[in-house]
């Protein structure tokens, strides 16, 4: 049976440390937001009907509602379209706040499986997007099976992995970096 709960948000949950963490993770202008709603009227997440979209995410972030933000997967559906950044009258850079929430979430392993898959592909092949059957598709377009990217150069790919190992990926990846 579906769990039924009442629709009340407990404001005592407000976690100032979470706000600080978001600011450190890139939400530098978070507190500038006056909730004018300009971003919400154009955000693809809002238009597509996601429960949590840019305006609400920012408000929840300014209130420090950590659990709500971390548990809700909406931030991972942000298109990164940056229209919000372009139009924000207070220069809050809403998209950076979405990214900050994502960054906080991955630190507690609260992200969709596809995020890890992309990171694994990025590390292994140099390509976060790495769909099967590309050789066949490239042939159809009259191109060599492999593009001249890191995929074709083992030495360079190893170097790239060396580079990635020195980034935050080293701490966060739930797969071995060897």
């Amino acid at each position: 049976m579906e769990e039924v709960t009442v629709n009340v948000i407990d404001l005592n949950q407000c976690d100032e440390d979470f706000i600080k963490q978001l600011i450190e993770l890139g939400a530098e202008e978070l507190k500038e937001c006056i909730q004018c709603g300009k971003c919400a009227s154009t955000c693809p997440m809002a238009l597509a009907g996601l429960e949590f979209f840019i305006k609400r995410i920012i408000h929840a972030a300014t209130l420090g509602l950590r659990d709500i933000l971390i548990e809700d997967p909406s931030v991972w559906a942000c298109q990164s379209c940056n229209r919000c950044v372009e139009i924000c009258p207070m220069d809050v850079k809403p998209y950076e706040i979405i990214q900050a929430v994502r960054r906080a979430a991955v630190r507690v392993e609260a992200c969709p499986a596809s995020t890890y898959e992309g990171l694994r592909n990025l590390y292994r092949f140099g390509h976060a997007v790495f769909p099967k059957g590309f050789e066949e598709r490239r042939k159809k377009a009259g191109l060599p099976e492999k593009p001249p990217t890191a995929l074709s150069f083992d030495e360079l790919r190893k170097k790239y992995q060396e580079v990635l190992k020195q980034t935050i990926l080293e701490e966060i990846a739930p797969f071995p970096l060897d």
Binding site: C36, S41, A46, D91
Partner: protein, 666 residues
């Protein structure tokens, strides 16, 4: 040896909340020459002042340091107290341990306490070296100049004139009336703007004490409070106003057409024009850059058109019947002597072109000020509601608030009047066209003001749709010419969109062009947003940093008509209080040249913002001399003098060095 008394104020909790008073008192007792240290909850109160007075009268102290708030507001009070007890009023120093300490460092008590000690130490170091100084008195010219002939300037001029003072009212445009005369109706009473303003315009023009100088600008300002010499440039009108009867013949026969500024370019006027039908004075001017006579004179050396003067005889069209056309007119300069000035140059509204997300290229997207003209009977459509693009009557109109206001990219402030005039527009339209569909998009509805909330509720009852909580993000033009508006409705918690025939943007109120330059002419300063700044938001709302220069109306910040008028009448009262007594006190804090030390380099002369310094012969050489009446005590010359020949009384080099030493001593 000085006997210094230090008086530490708690300012209630303002200071005591962040500064450990007891510790500061103990510390102050250790400072050189300090003989008495007292503290009190409100040192500026009568019992507080009595503490100081008593100690002076008892002969305990002969120099006073008050560690309290800002000298800006409180120094005069304590100077009076010191003087009343028999000391020279300049034997007082204030240590500002509130504004510059407890308020700034409220979160750091030990830091604030340490800073308070330093500030007191510095004040003690300065007052030890204080010399007795004496105030001076000068005469005041009993006249006032008001710059700006909008509603604020007009009311200020009328009040002053009714007090019997001579008033010069200077206006940049050919007519007075300002922005208000362009409005259709006014909230919250829905008076017709022109109906209530034109009688006042006539009253101004006819008042025997008011000299109206329109189509003119302030060109140069000399002098100082009580004795300003202001040069005004009366722009060439090319029409002799003594002869012009305002008949309008020239404005009908002139062949040169140009966008009409009065209607924001939505229609055209001629190069010879009367600004608007109810203009005061009702006189025509010729706009030389657009006049064919001047254009061809410039190009070919010969005038091509003199129709306004001579008419077109073959067609039986007569030229100016008053023979007032004067192509050889020149700019004219007049210098006026006044005791005080009121700056009331108003505002302008932002242009729509800044807002690329709102399809500014569409003629059906207009600013609210343009919309006022569309609604007005004297506007481009003679009051008929028409879409600028195709002249059809719009069925659905969207109004967008906070366009350029509450916006870090343009203006962080709230323009204050937009919410209300959006409702006003809605009400005008709904009462005239009950079937029209109106959608008002707000971030939030701000209707604080007498009778404003009632106005909002009434307008809503007319069927106007109010969308709150979402600043509009986009206006897009559809191929059929309609406009899609996208917003967010916080009450529905959903993005919303609307197809409208017209969009009205409530663009921000801005300082008019040239405000900073105008301020500079008078030595009045502008705030961060470019409006002229009052000395103190609460206590001195109409005074500027320049003594004798007052401000009124929107040039000080966005406000509505009632507020503008209230402020202008306050400015009139403040200016009258200054000039009517006929005498003015000048503080003793001024600079003086030790001519034996002066090297005649002349560096100080151009630096002085008040033109108070000139070189004058002394012992066979040109030496700097400061005119005490002109010196405002800014200290620029003293800090620039390479020979240290200038003494800045009240802030001598020795005093400043002693302060720095006290502040920086480890």
């Amino acid at each position: 040896m000085a006997k210094i008394g230090v008086y530490v104020c708690h300012c209630g909790e303002n200071i005591a909340g962040a500064v450990n008073i007891e510790e500061v008192v103990k510390y102050s007792q250790t400072l050189p020459d300090v003989v008495v240290v007292k503290n009190y909850v409100f040192m500026c109160s009568d019992p507080g002042q009595d503490l100081i007075k008593q100690d002076i009268k008892d002969g305990l102290v002969d120099r006073v340091v008050v560690a309290a708030c800002t000298p800006r507001t409180h120094e005069p009070i304590f100077r009076d107290a010191v003087e009343a007890a028999g000391l020279n009023r300049y034997f007082l120093e204030m240590a500002n341990i509130r504004d510059q300490d407890s308020w700034a460092h409220w979160h750091d008590k030990s830091g604030a306490t340490e800073k308070a000690k330093r500030l007191i130490k510095s004040a003690v170091a300065k007052v030890r070296l204080a010399e007795p100084l004496y105030d001076r008195y000068g005469d005041v010219e009993k006249s006032v100049m008001v710059v700006g002939g909008g509603v604020a300037g007009m009311f200020a001029a009328l009040d002053l004139a009714n007090m019997g003072l001579k008033v010069y009212l200077v206006e940049r445009q050919p007519s007075i009336g300002g922005n208000m005369i362009k409005l259709d109706k006014t909230f919250p009473t829905m008076d017709c703007s022109a109906c209530i303003l034109t009688p006042k315009m006539v009253e101004v023009a006819q008042h025997p004490n008011i000299e109206l100088i329109t189509y003119a600008e302030v060109d140069e300002v000399k002098g100082y409070v009580g004795n300003f010499d202001i040069r005004v440039r009366k722009k060439a009108r090319y029409i002799d106003w003594d002869k012009c009867t305002g008949c309008g013949v020239c404005t009908q026969i002139c062949p040169a057409r140009v966008p009409n500024e009065y209607n924001f370019g939505m229609d055209q006027r001629r190069a010879a024009y009367i600004e608007f039908p109810q203009a005061v004075p009702k006189k025509a001017v010729i706009d030389a850059p657009n006049c064919l006579y001047f254009k061809s004179l410039k190009k070919t050396g010969k005038p091509a058109c003199e129709i306004c003067k001579k008419g077109i005889p073959p067609k039986g069209i007569q030229g100016c019947p008053a023979d007032a056309i004067k192509f050889d007119d020149k700019d004219e300069y007049v210098t006026l002597k006044v005791g005080a000035v009121i700056l009331a140059t108003g505002y302008k509204v932002m242009d729509k072109t800044h807002f690329k997300e709102y399809s500014p290229h569409s003629p059906d997207v207009v600013t609210a000020m343009e919309f006022e003209r569309i609604l007005s009977a004297t506007g481009p459509t003679e009051g008929e509601l028409k879409r600028p693009s195709d002249g059809t009557k719009p069925k659905t109109i969207a109004f967008i608030s906070c366009v350029g206001s509450r916006d870090e990219r343009y203006h962080s402030y709230c323009s204050k009047v937009c919410c209300m005039y959006m409702f006003k527009h809605a009400r005008i339209l709904k009462e005239k066209y009950p079937d029209i569909k109106l959608y008002l998009f707000f971030i939030d509805v701000r209707t604080a003001g007498k009778d404003f909330e009632e106005f909002y509720v009434y307008t809503k009852q007319l069927g106007v749709k109010v969308i709150r909580g979402g600043r509009v993000s986009a206006v897009d033009v559809k191929p059929n010419g309609k406009l899609r508006v996208r917003g967010f409705d916080v009450d529905l918690c959903s993005p919303v969109e609307l197809e409208a025939d017209m969009v009205v943007l409530a663009t921000a109120i801005e300082p008019p062009e040239g405000t900073e330059e105008l301020g500079r002419l008078f030595a009045a300063t502008c705030g961060r947003e470019g409006f002229l700044r009052e000395v103190h938001t609460k206590l001195y709302p109409v005074e500027t940093a320049a003594k004798g220069v007052f401000i009124a109306g929107c040039v000080q910040g966005p406000k509505d008509i009632p507020e503008s008028i209230a402020q202008s009448r306050a400015a009139a009262a403040a200016a009258a209080a200054l000039v009517i007594p006929g005498k003015i006190k000048f503080e003793a804090i001024i600079s003086e040249v030790d001519r034996d030390k002066c090297s005649s380099c002349g560096v100080c002369v151009p630096l002085c913002p008040y033109n108070a310094i000139r070189l004058e012969e002394y012992k066979g050489k040109d030496k700097a001399k400061i005119e005490p009446a002109l010196c405002a005590g800014c200290g620029v010359c003293a800090s620039a003098c390479p020979s240290r020949a200038i003494v800045f009384h009240g802030y001598t080099t020795e005093q400043i060095l002693a302060q720095i030493e006290a502040l920086t001593e480890v």
